[in-house]
Amino acid sequence: MRFVLKTHYGQDVDLFKHSGQRFWYAALAIMVGLAPWIMDDFYLGELSLVFIYAIAGIGLMLLVGYTGLVSLGHAAFLAIGAYSHAYLLGHGVPFPVALAAATLFSAVIGAIVGLPALRMIGIYLAVATLAFAIIVEQVLSHWESVTGGYRGMPVPEAELFGLSLMGSQTFYYLCLALLVASLLAALNLLRGPTGRSFIAIRDSEISASSMGIHLARTKSRAFAISAGFTGLAGGLFAHKLGYLAPDAFTLLTSIQLLLMVVVGGLGSLHGVIFGAIFIGLLPQAIAFLRDTLPPAAAQIPGLEPGIFGLILVLFLIYEPLGIYGRWRKIRLFFDEFPLYRSATYRRQKSYLRTERVR
């Protein structure tokens, strides 16, 4: 068992709550820091992709998991980030400036998309963002002078101070650094007034507005921040792809991003990381599994999306809190050992309106 003695309010504000957390996060940092010496280039590339997904996931999590606004159009922000970054690089803008500009541009578009979305909730908002994603997809396909249309658009090599950033090791560290920075930014946001105002809107709009929270402004802020993170991920994703074409940013991508935050666990940044690992590595795991299966079973068409879907459905039924929810239960078991009560997380029906958690 662990008991944290609190002697100062600052302890509740700090990112790490006790020395155990500091130790494990340091261990994790050393592990991911040393990964390039242990793994070969292929796995390093896969891990970079997981980091990129995670950055996009932070954006989507802030919107869906914390503000309670569903978006089925985040592939569009990924695309806007990727294309504007590649376009700027192609016109000789240095890498850091191009990436920052792509992030800001996505955020501005996010704020604009957020405006009409302010009056919509739930399924209506999902449909509106879906429509936005389709519009963006069309624009990418037809605005040939900028995007290259269906032919696509090559992504120029990223350079910083004359050094190429495209080696698998340097790119890995670039993604890692940006992921850590994004996580810190999101954590900081969430422990301050703005993050709390997002959560307030998620749980009760009516009460949020009576607490002095400007609903429209806060929601459009959430959209902008969310789109900004996703646009940043898009810029990195462009380098990962090497060649941009509209078919990399379809509805399926949006759904994959949404799956990531739902399977990871809505309302937690841990969930983003778990979800990104799940989305990024599961196809590889399934492909790996396929090799070990008897040929008759391995040749079934659609095996990968099938297993993917099955895992998703199982999660929604048995663990709606996602991978992070399961993780927390396991952790609590060890934290409270041997006093863990087996009914701690038993799901109960609730009848009072106020007891229902939407």
Partner: protein, 254 residues
């Protein structure tokens, strides 16, 4: 009874054919506890929703501290210093009591988005300052055992008090309590009446309260407004209202 804090002039609102509130006028003095009573459907909560601008007025106007507030947005009402609670509680269910109360401090924030991204020292200072204020309210309402608990796991009576606490964290000038005692047991209601006194006398907050429990109304409030079918029946001291013929008729029939 010194100066007038809040004044309602000819408030009227109807929903379709239902006249929820008709030509209602009343005024609340600085520092008093003003109760609104009436049978179900009399329009009590509607009055609150009008004041917090969740509903638009059809006619009439509301004056708070000398300014017309009938055209403000709900969040501006909060910024002016009017806090409220809800009849069936509207808390942030998936958050801890502490975070709910911290959201109550929202209108007092002075940091900007960019500072918060970087969590500059100013943001930390503000968080600690917020926390100190929140702890004062927790001490006042004896919520210490629940500080770290998720709202969804708390019993109803505690939630009601958390909602009052959250409103107090806003440091309002005017507090609107919508049936604070509903769902509380007699003991909790007793505590509530003492806390009302503390809130009113020690913190100097003016209270408008919608309440069914006549004992609580008689004990706590300075003046009472009786409503029926959206019309004002009578205003006066609790004892006068309890024996007022119109009020008795509204409750008991002819």
């Amino acid at each position: 009874m010194t100066e007038r804090l809040f004044q309602a002039e000819n408030l009227s609102v109807s929903f379709g054919g239902i006249r929820a509130v008709q030509d209602l006028s009343f005024s609340v003095e600085q520092g008093e506890i003003f109760s609104i009573i009436g049978p179900n459907g009399a329009g009590k909560t509607t009055v609150f929703n009008l004041i917090s601008r969740l509903y638009d007025l059809d006619r009439g106007r509301m004056i708070f501290e000398g300014d017309d507030i009938s055209g403000l947005a709900p969040h501006q009402i909060a910024e002016r210093g009017i806090a409220r609670t809800f009849q069936n509680t509207e808390l942030f269910e998936r958050e801890t009591v502490l975070n709910n109360l911290l959201i109550g401090r929202h209108i007092h924030r002075s940091t900007r988005l960019l500072d918060e991204f970087l969590f500059l020292p100013g943001v930390r200072r503000q968080e600690l300052e917020f926390r100190k204020r929140v702890e004062d309210v927790i001490d006042l309402l004896d919520l210490q055992p629940y500080r770290e608990q998720i709202i969804g796991n708390l019993p109803y009576g505690v939630r009601k008090m958390v909602e009052v606490a959250r409103a107090l964290c806003m440091e309002p000038k005017l507090l609107l309590l919508d049936e604070p005692s509903s769902g509380l047991n007699p003991e909790e209601t007793e505590d509530l009446s003492y806390w009302l006194e503390d809130i009113n006398e020690d913190l100097g907050i003016t209270v408008i309260m919608v309440e069914h429990d006549m004992n609580l109304v008689a004990r706590a409030s300075h003046r009472v407004l009786a409503l029926a079918d959206g019309l004002a029946l009578a205003v006066g001291a609790p004892s006068e209202i309890q024996n007022h013929p119109d009020v008795l008729r509204a409750y008991l029939g002819d």
